[in-house]
Every structure is written in structure tokens, then in C-alpha cells.
Symmetry: C2
DNA sequence: GACCGAAAGTGACGCCCCGTCAACTTTCAT
DNA sequence: ATGAAAGTTGACGGGGCGTCACTTTCGGTC
């Protein structure tokens, strides 16, 4: 149905264009997961599809760019959940705890994505890439933090530093959670307590 | 003098061995800084010395391995400073604030190293690699945290989660500090306040 | 339905990097 | 002085890179 609809709506041209792009992204996801980001080549990716090597470059400039597309796909799945959680929150505690719980839950249920997101060489290095979609997600978070500050729920502190702290803790603690197979709930409680206690003590923002 | 001494002590053999190794590491530092980690090749590094390509492989297996050596050199410079600061600390507040101040100070005065440490593709991705020396530094920190917990200065919480949080905040906030050219003192105050306030609220460790 | 121009796919090509290895040079102990 | 061990060298086969001339596919026009 939807294929027919797509075909009629977009024509065969656009149709295969979209499906080729997705085929490359899907192949990349598989290959990255298997070989690790550093070890995989554009050739590995294209070999995992039924396209020719030249075709790859009609869609992406490099493996970095496919990787970014993958990141964006991931961010696109997580962002709405985080946003929903923040909207539901009735105070700063729910804001923080809901965000951490949602993020850790995603990480736990999607280890592979998170691992690919973080690791170049398995077990050895960790990477985090900021793509437009990821940046947009961070901006959204910062905007909400600023609202919390305006409402006096959070002291008038530097929202960017606060955001950086939250992000740093989220990623690093998530890694620890996976390494030691901790429960999402406990991990979220830890991170939440740290920030709820800590935020009250933060220094006032400078002029 | 020291060259002669070295020559006599170790013989010409060991002498040039050490100097070749260092030449490669130094070249790597320059090339990484100029091209970024991802873009540099083993050939780029070896071309920046007066050695032949084959010689590289007598010293390192890959560019990853040189990179690790660089990381270790960095860790070797920072660790003693952090350790000294921790030993000087007379309570948990000094422990935390001294560590953050020292680390941020290092980052500020050594932007290039930190940038190379963190970035593959300038402005886009960030990487942190755990080499033996880095891991040893973390272990040291965790051991001191455990002592603080035993002494009752810090609640009986999970030291690994606490360490992950500190590390996450340290790196992420340092990045923010560089990006916006914040003062070391202010940045350290922020991070310190967050943890001093937060630590008291942390959940008790599970059995 | 035949025709044509544009869009997309193809894979061979030239370039460079990879890690190895046989030949060569240097060191050092005798 | 000499020979064996340690270390250096760069050429080599294998492969990935990004490009480009050529082919195929699509869709609008008559």
C-alpha cells in the first residue's frame, strides 16, 4: 500500500533514491556494529548492499557522513521521548529524573546503537559526534533549563555549564551502567540525586 | 652531557632506539595537531621524521598505538599534579575543588593537547581513549574516593558511578570552558559546587 | 507507444596507504 | 679485525580511495 502510494506520490525516481539511501544506512549500521567504526571502509558498506561503489558517492561524501546520518536517526528516535518526558514533568525533580531514566532506558534497550555511537575501537575508545539533530536535541534541553531558571526552580546559574554537566554524566554513567550491567532505575536515581542536590549549591551566574 | 652519559650508560644501540621512538612521537604530536587524528596516516608521521617507512613498525603497530603513547605522555604529566593536589587536600571540598582546578588549569594551558586528546575531526567529534596510564590515573582517583567514603566524608555510595560522573563532568565542562573561553576559576567553582551539593544527596550503596 | 533529455548507476582507473620482508648497514663483544 | 645480532631501508603486492566516461532507467512530450 504505502509503497504504491509512495510510488504514485513520488514516482519511481524518488522512490529508489530513498530506498537506496536507506539501504546504505542499514548496511552501514550492520557493518559498523560488526567491524567497529574505525575498521570499516566505504567498500565494506557498499559491498553489504547490491549497489556499485560509485553509487555510494551519489548519497554520501564519506563514511563519516553515513555515520552522522546514523547518529541523526538515533537522535530522532530519542528526542521525542525526552521531550515528552520533560513536558510531563511538573517540577525540576521530575524534569531531571524523567530525562535520565528515559535516556538510560534507551541505552539499555539499544546497547548496539549506543556502542556504535560511542566506540571506534571496541573496548578502547569512545566517541561522540555532534550532528545537527543531536545539537538540536541539546538546544531543546538547554531552552528548558533556561525556563527552569526563569521560574526560579533552578538557581540563576550558567545553563550551558549545567547542560554540559548533565550530558557528561549521562554518557559516562550510561557507559558504566552497561559495563557493570546496573539497573536503569538505580542508575537514574544516582544521577538524579547528584543533580538535585548539586543544583541548589551552584554559583550565581555572572553579569 | 646527558647525551654522553646516556651513550656511555646505554650504548649507542639503546640510545638511538630511544631517540627514534621519541622522534616518532614528537612528529605524531605535530601531525595530529595539524591534520587531526582521523586524517593523518602513518606515512604522514614517518615523513615528518627522517626515518624510513618500515622503521615506524619497529616501534609501533599502528597510528592508534602512537596515539596511545601520546595519551600516556599526557596522563604522565597530569597525574602527579592531581595526586599532589589530592594529598594536600584536608577535606572532601579541597579534594574536589583541587582536582577540578588542576585539571581545568592543565586543559587551559595545553589546549592543543586536550584538543588532540578529544577531537578526531575538528569541531565535530570528540574522543577519549583509555590507555594503561589513563586507567591507572582513574584507579588512583577511585581509590581515594573509596577512602573518603570509608572516612564518612562521602556517603556510602557507588564509587564507580561517582567517578564516572566526575570524569564526565570534567571532560564535558572543560570542553565548554574552551569553547566559550571561560575562566578556570569560575569553571572549577561550578563543578565543585555541583558535586559538593550533590554528593550529600546520593543514594546509599546496595548490598 | 516511440522518442529524447535528464537523472542515476556502474565499475575500471590512477593514486596513495598499508604492513611486510629480503637486502643492507651499524653496533658491539670477542 | 671480524662475525653475528640488531636495526634500518624502501620496494612490493594488496587494497581502499574518489572520479569519470559510459550505460541504463525514468518520465515528460508528441
Amino acid at each position: 500500500m504505502s509503497v504504491d502510494l509512495d510510488a504514485k506520490t513520488r514516482g519511481k525516481r524518488e522512490e529508489t533514491k530513498a530506498s537506496n539511501r536507506q539501504a546504505i544506512i542499514d548496511a552501514a549500521r550492520r557493518v559498523f556494529a560488526e567491524l567497529g567504526y574505525g575498521a570499516t571502509t566505504v567498500r565494506d558498506i557498499i559491498r553489504a548492499t547490491d549497489l556499485a561503489s560509485g553509487t555510494f558517492y551519489n548519497y554520501f561524501k564519506s563514511k563519516e557522513e553515513v555515520f552522522q546520518a546514523l547518529q541523526d536517526e538515533t537522535a530522532l528516535r530519542v528526542r521525542p521521548r525526552l521531550r515528552a518526558e520533560r513536558i510531563r514533568a511538573r517540577n525540576f525533580e521530575e524534569f531531571i529524573s524523567g530525562s535520565f531514566r528515559t535516556f538510560f532506558d534507551f541505552v539499555k534497550n539499544d546497547r548496539t546503537t549506543f556502542a556504535t555511537m560511542r566506540s571506534n575501537h571496541p573496548e578502547m575508545s569512545r566517541v561522540r559526534i555532534d550532528t545537527p539533530e543531536v545539537i538540536a536535541g541539546f538546544d531543546e534541553l538547554r531552552a528548558d533549563l533556561e525556563v527552569a531558571i526563569e521560574n526560579g526552580v533552578v538557581p540563576d546559574t550558567d545553563p550551558n555549564l549545567l547542560m554540559a554537566s548533565i550530558v557528561g554524566v549521562a554518557f559516562e554513567v550510561a557507559h558504566e551502567m552497561l559495563t557493570r550491567d546496573l539497573a536503569v532505575e538505580d542508575t537514574a536515581k544516582f544521577a538524579t540525586a547528584l543533580f538535585l542536590g548539586g543544583v541548589q549549591a551552584l554559583p550565581k551566574r555572572k553579569a
